[in-house]
Symmetry: C2
Amino acid sequence: MSVQCGIDAHVQAVTALKAEEAAMRYDHAALSNMSSDEASANTIFTRLRDAEVQSKWTKEGDLINFAGMDFYGAIKNGLGQPSDVWTAVRRMPKGALLHCHFDGTVDTKFLLEHAKRTENMCMKADMPLSTQEALWRATVEFLVLPQTAERSKVSIWSEDYVPGEWVSFKDARISFPYPHPYQMERAASELHMPNFINPSELNGRASRDGTHTEDRLDRGQAFDAYIHALMTLTPHDSIPAITNSKQAWARFQSTFVVIAGLIGYEPTLKAYTKELLRSHAQDGISYTETRINFLNEFMVRADGTPNLAHVEWVRIFIEAVEEVKAEISEGGYIDAKIIYTTVRFIDNEKLRWYLEDCIMLKKMFPEWIVGFDLVGHEDPLLPLKVYIPELLRFQQRCKEEGLSIPFVFHAGETLEDGGDADLNLYDAILLDTKRIGHGVSLARHPLLTDLVKERDICIEVCPISNQVLGYTASICSHPSLLALLHRNVPVALSSDDPSIFENFGLSYDFYQLIISSQSTTLVSLAALARRSIKYSLVDDKTKEIMFADWDRRWKAYIAWFLEEYGRWSKQ
Amino acid sequence: MSVQCGIDAHVQAVTALKAEEAAMRYDHAALSNMSSDEASANTIFTRLRDAEVQSKWTKEGDLINFAGMDFYGAIKNGLGQPSDVWTAVRRMPKGALLHCHFDGTVDTKFLLEHAKRTENMCMKADMPLSTQEALWRATVEFLVLPQTAERSKVSIWSEDYVPGEWVSFKDARISFPYPHPYQMERAASELHMPNFINPSELNGRASRDGTHTEDRLDRGQAFDAYIHALMTLTPHDSIPAITNSKQAWARFQSTFVVIAGLIGYEPTLKAYTKELLRSHAQDGISYTETRINFLNEFMVRADGTPNLAHVEWVRIFIEAVEEVKAEISEGGYIDAKIIYTTVRFIDNEKLRWYLEDCIMLKKMFPEWIVGFDLVGHEDPLLPLKVYIPELLRFQQRCKEEGLSIPFVFHAGETLEDGGDADLNLYDAILLDTKRIGHGVSLARHPLLTDLVKERDICIEVCPISNQVLGYTASICSHPSLLALLHRNVPVALSSDDPSIFENFGLSYDFYQLIISSQSTTLVSLAALARRSIKYSLVDDKTKEIMFADWDRRWKAYIAWFLEEYGRWSKQ
């Protein structure tokens, strides 16, 4: 064989091998059946993506940034600011968001705005917040109290504050004594929160010694930045950078404590639910399955009494969803359902109570409760195997009652290999989980990977969450995401807790995938979006409606895309 | 079915599924055929490991350390200092080290010691090293000059130094003007280099203003710490922490420039080769296939003339190996061979020259040249596909000449998905590579993963290297290591460039795996060690000898282990 023949044969063999492997991928069917418009858009999008990688992420001499880098680094480098790829990703119809925790989904600025308008919102801390150091060491909580309940008159910012005493939120806010600490400015300016606080405005209007004509306003803004920092993992100068998963979880868990009292109030709860749907609609998400944590028995009623029970939470949720559906039905399909969750530290006896509570709610609201899950930090908390007795009993009970409440378990959200959190995967699969939350360690399990595919179990992969919580340095080295996608294991990209990470909606996670993976195209993202509908927990008829709606949106999107970026086809 | 029956059935199903998956693993055969002594040792070792994880890596309240954490963090927490697991890992027979770069393998302290004793060793920099900042910005190089060659009399530490002029190494060393900079002390104390420099001694003997009775000695020690810092990636306060792969590679490449002039001198070359074998023997490594970079045509002869050619490098290598074999043959099998490498930035014409050079050396030293590879930073450098014409021609030439020089290509050492470095995997496999260096992105390729297994291609995975160079945050989230191991894809753990990372031998990489993975046992490590022999590039007869030698060592090791740790069997 001549050398040239040899070269040709090698090149052909490489091409054939690539094609054979590509045929195994999740996006193969979609790529094989593109309309000519889709094909044009796909080519143009790839061109835009490659250009944006070059111009924004891999600039000559830039040793800091790279495509798919850590989320907060990427934000600093302009992720989320207008760009061709960002605009195109943001606008695309994304189908269903299948993994998000209810109290961690909406921008925390929304909760702050509501707190400001809530007359009886109170605040407490477990130490006087009389030093800047205390600001970051204290556990800060909020709660709406009845009008008549006693509040401390001592400022929470004073040395004399008695730890644990409730003070007025409004008073605390306008007397925030750190109006211009450097940290606050940095926190605000780095947090890309233009609607919330404008740091240059803050600087411009404030004098050095803190006295100011509009003192109240500035103090309030600085307070807002402080509370915002307590509710997010967004880095700022006052707290050491997070370097591993343990540290990340310690701070992550502390944010929920702050959020709880702001969200757990009847009027806010309803407004929050509506905002969840509206913001998702804006991000191109038509349907959300949100995990509500029912661990606490009660939230606070509008009048301040703390006895708003689970059944009322669901009722409020439904009302909110129905109102938004009526409001924005013209824009296409919009809906949300509830996955009932409690936390993995309870015992079996307590679990039985929650499972019965879940059954009761399912009976009352059969269309709205679509699954059950146990949540929390998998590594230190109890493994699924501990709960087998009650979980099996629950399946039996559902059968008897003629109810369908599938499990959708978190499993394998861990760096451990062979530890309990990793082994949760076996139990989850054999308990007939319909989907798996995270599955970070799944791709290491050859048999389970095959089994998941065979049983058509969808993996809710949350790339930005996994990175922020220390399971991977960046989406590029994620232990499972691409390994599962390329094996055509069903995957639904998800945001997990965007309130806390600030990866709102699905655009950030979609962007990080498309910008970091050259093998991913616009049509690949579309295949993911369409697939997310397939693995939602609604009935087949509803799914058909959702598919039809998505197809219609997608067609409109392609038309928009070609109009907007068609000029790139000539290059 | 009663609930209890259901529980039993579930538990049995989980057990069966785990067993079925375990049967697919690389260590299954070894675990199924343990002698009773091996079984005892394995149980005890797991107990020791679990205890060490608890006592050293996951201490209550410790939010910094975790099992398998980043290498330099782990060193800070005592990795490499005596402990039960470290001692046991260090002592075990590890078979073959299949992936290490010759000029990046031996402790750089060894090179420094030799430089001190080399009369005509010279030093230059591309700027005067007259400020501490310049120390870390400059490119520093070494070279042995002929006795008669001119040296600058101006101190390299002075503002008047002319960039690029050679000065005496000895003079530069004893006049190092930063004897007590904080950075130096930190560098020394954090670098776990007790044989090299003792920082407390440095502190004790030195006065604040730098004057001192034994001034020369202290200055020399501080100089050594400085040069050591230039040759390693070990973090120190004078250089910002590395946060990604681009930064890591920029510094990584700079270390080789410093090392080149110290190692590229005939007497040092020989001593270095002997030290390589001796230090590997001490670490339980019987056989090393080292990649020598033949990019430069010449090194420096003993008399200072710079015309020591490739054929002489190989001759010196062989002499050194033979001398060490004669010296330590009692301790068991010991040997080393050469993989000929050049760098991925040359053109095809130049590559032909190297390939012919490789053929020439193979003809002269048929037992010693065992493979060919192209090295360098895969992301920015040329992909294999560029070199297809010459690589195929080489295969043809070898066939004609009746030579066996298999390819052992680096491929997939990248975070990119679908980029050239990732796609190198296709070319490498279809070019019949016998092994693959790194394969970080391999596990994302379902077809290639199967093909590699089918073709019995071994993956040389370098966990610590991959972490230090920014491809994974820790061994725990490595994108391929466990995924490949658990699929029984052949893997040989390797150290890559321990001179620069300071993960000397194989003990560090073995320790990081065993401490971070609960599914890994002592017998798993043994299976890896034995397998490394299988994938070495020696003939079958030699392999038989190596296997027999390893089996004998392993038996002795198990006996030692049970004597040393047998008391743990009672717990």
